[in-house]
Amino acid sequence: MVKKVPIGPYHPILEEPEFFELHVDGERVIDIDITIGWSHRGIELLSEHKTWDQVPFLVERVCGICSASHPFAYVKAVDDLLGIEVPLRAQYIRVIVAELERIHSHLLWTGLAGHFIGYNTVFMWTWKYREPLLDVIEAITGNRNHYATYRVGGVRRDIPQEEIPNTLKMLDQLEKNNDMLTKAILDDPVIHARTKGIGVLPTDKCRLYGALGPTARAGGYNIDSRRDHPIDAYDKVDFNVIVCENGDVFDKAVVRQLENFESIKIIRQCLKQMEPGDICAEIHEIPPGEGIGVYEAPRGEVLHYVRSDGGNTPLRHKIRAPSFNNILTNEVSVPGSTIADAGLITAAVDPCYSCTERVGVVDRNDGGRWFLAEGDLIRLSQEKTEEIRKRFARGTEST
């Protein structure tokens, strides 16, 4: 008996608008129809009315979490159009701020995923560990989010020398905390049972659907634009690209947790290698032409395309956030799962809704429809975790 189950109007984990219509047969999802666009704000068109120097302030508001990634990709697009190299110190500062953002974004996802499967301790830990990181970002840039750091030709402000010891101290503590958190997640048999083999996105589908970031790397699709299309200081630092092979929810979590260590490594190298110097090249005008800027945001590669007619504003500014590609992969990873897992799978791509959410369920047999509210989905997910815990306690399931 096939039913349609609408989940929403808000995503159970991330509380932003998106709509999934699940076609189900009993508990089993057999098809999914995704509708995005609930928070379409016309930012690309707005950008055409901002001067080249105002656009970074606009695009860092595409998303509250990726407020370094979007301006980073934008300024790289303009740098590409101009054909310039920005001052070395500015290159390092751009990378430091972007990597600090990656760690706080990954910790945020891990906390929310923990809450969703009934691990509220994980939620509390990650929030606690993230806080000193945000303090450092505030000390460096002036804000916890929306850093206003990036500008065409360089950065808007320098990192004060006196902030570097504090930053290094925070990184040392964060590394220990992330290590403990990673081991706790990787060693927990209930988390294994709850997330392994769930929402699998195989390598060939990653390629066909243009999957990006941790969503792709979890499925063995070895792409990372920091390595493949290195910008600024990324070719001057040493780091590993974390790749798993199963493409399930567990591997997506593993990729994010291990990437935090790599980000810490990158920031330390940047702080060590960075020397005093200019932080911005002098740009007088933007000539006619076009430029492509890509940056590996926490959720995957961000692409910005700009076209200039020689005026003081972009003639065209295309923004492609990674969630635009990644959310479409739910067409592959959700069918075959249960309703209790669907919310977790759709959240495992770490979708950014301001860059794009809701869910409906349709019974294929009687055509009946109903909606699941946020509380219903979290309850379903947490009940499933509880069921697994009890099975472990009874000794009827092993790792």
Binding site: G37, D80, G210, G289, V294, D309, L315, R316
Partner: protein, 173 residues
Amino acid sequence: MEREEVKQKISEKFGDRVRIAERSPKRVYVYAENDVWVDLAAFVFNDLDARFDTGAAVDDKDGVEVMFFFPFDAEHYYLTVKTFAKKPKPMLDSISNIIPGAKWIEREIFEMYEVTFRNHPDLRPVLRADTRPVDYYPAKREVKDEHETARKRDDGTERADEVAGKPLEGKNP
């Protein structure tokens, strides 16, 4: 696959139906006629093993320039495949049946610029609010022209019309 080899293979297969330009060692642009546009995209994705990234469109008075980005990750450069769909009814073949990841971006280009993609599996608007009129395409030049400020710069001069779809001085196809 290295740039020179890629350029050579594209030239051999598509001859004068394509024009190739290189703006920098990291950016290659290939401009294709409408009739070979999908074949070229499929060739780059399937035979040359590029990754599919996304697409974009730029509107002009005479038509809409549509482009898809194909990064060659191992060689660190981007290849952009472009074509120009002429107005009044811009129409192109869809690549979504070859690359499913292109479904949403083609829907977006359709709803924003009125470019119809033939053989697309489901050409519904992807971003549009339910309340927006069906035949309203907000990014079209004609729509922008109705709003005076959208066509003028701060100093009051008109924006250039000659950018989309036309060769930029010496460099782009």
